[in-house]
């Protein structure tokens, strides 16, 4: 139990996917101009990440490995991820048209969110078991969501700040992300995992 908890803490804070591993930066920059959108994106990504890490584990363990076709891992994982994303997109479109529009292109782009493929591949590399894979995927998603929402709330404040013109928009957002990453270094060594 402790082990899973530590794994979770480690993925959320210490090895945060965005700020420490620098994965998933595209939606991090793209979908963080409004808190509501960020929360929606977080939920969609959490869903996709958890589901994708779970199904990719199953795929890897029960299909690729027994058949000895691990070399198909990347392509197979991408297939799984694409399907999960597509599925999520349809669900979101049906349940929340507003969110669907707010997320816009970024929803289908979860497919190419490197965090998703990253989780799946890292799970394999770290030889996580089924439960660990889920926790790892979920933790990564929670970490992503956490910093995404924080970042969005900060960007709402930035939107009205008197930022020098050359730094307006993405530039200052990048700097903010950098400073966030700096702050997250404080968690280094918190959990040795």
């Amino acid at each position: 139990m402790t082990e899973y908890f530590l794994l979770l803490v480690s993925t959320v804070l210490v090895n945060n996917f965005v700020l420490v591993k620098f994965l998933g930066l595209c939606p991090f920059m793209g979908v963080s101009s409004k808190i509501e959108t960020a929360i929606g994106m977080s939920m969609a990504t959490t869903f996709v990440l958890t589901l994708a890490s779970m199904s990719s584990y199953l795929l890897n363990t029960y299909i690729l490995q027994p058949l000895g076709i691990e070399f198909l891992r990347t392509i197979a994982f991408i297939l799984v991820i694409a399907v999960v994303v597509q599925f999520t997109e349809m669900v979101v479109h049906k349940t929340s048209p507003k969110l669907y529009r707010l997320l816009g292109i970024f929803l289908p782009l979860i497919t190419t969110n490197c965090a998703v493929l990253g989780v799946a591949l890292l799970n394999v590399n770290a030889e996580h078991n089924f439960l660990q894979s889920i926790v790892y995927g979920f933790g990564a998603a929670v970490g992503f969501s956490f910093v995404l929402v924080l970042f969005a709330s900060m960007r709402e404040r930035l939107a009205v700040a008197d930022v020098p013109r050359p730094f307006k928009g993405s530039a200052i957002a990048m700097i903010t992300a950098g400073l966030m990453s700096l702050a997250f270094m404080g968690f280094a060594g918190l959990v040795n995992f």
């Binding site: 808190i35 929402v149 020098p164 700097i175 400073l179 270094m185 404080g186 968690f187 280094a188 918190l190």
Partner: protein, 355 residues
């Protein structure tokens, strides 16, 4: 009869006396007890660093302001850059080389403050961001704290400090590393640092705290420095420059967590009092975290903000990789401030009572 004012101004037509400049200046003055204690225990280096940092801060701010075509003189006079410089100077080791101060202060002023639009717009505490950059980039130089003067082998004068900061050696040619050798020939670390390394070596808390670097209730010397900042902080409270919520929440939360941890594992945890009176605890509680721009503004928000900082300080000190987590704790909580503010809006008149 002289002229009647034709200037249109909206009501109110008057204000109280306290201005932003006075607020900033008062904070600087309130640092004096702490600075005095720090100078007494750690030598003239503190003063030299303070002067150096303030000059760098003002210069950096002036350059950026003139680049941005903003009024330079009027903005410099608000005292915020001076305060940032001073706070960084008080956080870094007194004999840290001059370029450390320059890099840290410039980063704080240029990147963390001015790029966000200057005073009032920065999301992060500039002083702490500058400090963290230094800590991450130059971990050795930044942990080179001298032992308190009273247990030092060498007496260092004001000029020694100046020389050491700018050339790396005292007038007699000692390096900072040599200076750190204490009376008993052991390299001295700060109490928090010392505790962390000793715990990792397998010693128990009571064995560690028996060392002379721990005083009656904090680290030797450090307890006085913290006391100095506590007094300065209380003065600020009395002046109405800061409100009690944030310092109280930080101290209460740090103390509570330490107490819980200490009562569960007394052998592995820092005693709560040492926790409060070592490192930068009081300095952070009264001078760093209360920086209004990067702190939460609602009353509930301030309490939450303080509590999170306290908890993070405890977490980082207890389990993290850094001996004193104050700067990280403040920065991490700065991240959450807009969110805290967003969710702690007080109920406006007429919106509570739904009849």
């Amino acid at each position: 009869m002289k002229s009647i004012s034709k200037l249109f101004v909206s009501s109110p037509h008057t204000r109280t006396g306290l201005t932003t400049n006075q607020v900033m200046r008062t904070v600087c003055y309130a640092c004096i007890p702490g600075i005095a204690a720090q100078t007494y225990f750690f030598g003239w280096g503190v003063i030299v660093q303070a002067l150096l940092c303030i000059i760098v801060a003002l210069t950096a701010e002036a350059i950026i302001l003139s680049l941005r075509e903003k009024p330079v003189r009027a903005t410099l006079a608000d005292g915020s850059a001076m305060l940032t410089g001073l706070l960084i100077a008080l956080s870094i080791p007194p004999l840290a080389p001059w370029w450390i101060s320059v890099i840290g202060v410039s980063f704080a002023i240029i990147i963390v403050k001015q790029l966000y639009g200057g005073l009032g717009f920065n999301l992060f505490n500039p002083a702490m961001a500058g400090y963290v950059v230094l800590l991450i980039s130059f971990p050795v130089a930044m942990t080179n704290w001298l032992p308190v003067q009273q247990v030092m082998t060498y007496d260092i004068s004001f000029l020694d400090c100046v020389s050491s900061i700018f050339t790396g050696f005292t007038l007699d040619g000692y390096s900072v590393t040599q200076l750190r050798i204490a009376v008993d020939g052991i390299t001295m670390a700060t109490p928090l640092d010392h505790f962390k390394t000793q715990i990792d070596l397998g010693l128990t808390a009571s064995e560690i705290t028996a060392s002379p670097i721990y005083g009656d209730y904090g680290g030797t010397g450090w307890e006085w420095v913290n006391l100095g900042y506590l007094i300065g902080g209380l003065l600020l409270l009395k002046q109405g420059v800061i409100r009690w919520h944030i310092p109280f929440a930080i101290i209460a939360s740090l103390f509570t967590f330490s107490l819980i941890s200490y009562s569960i594992t007394p052998d592995l945890s820092l005693p709560p009092m040492i926790s409060l009176f070592s490192g930068a605890t009081m300095f952070a509680a009264f001078f760093i975290a209360t920086d209004p721009i990067s702190a939460s503004t609602t009353i509930r928000g301030r309490l939450i903000y303080g509590a999170i900082i306290g908890a993070l300080i405890f977490m980082i000190r207890e389990w993290g990789g850094y001996p004193d987590g104050v700067a990280f704790a403040v920065l991490l909580t700065n991240l959450a401030v807009p969110l805290i503010d967003y969710y702690t809006k007080p109920a406006v008149y007429g919106h509570k009572a739904k009849v």
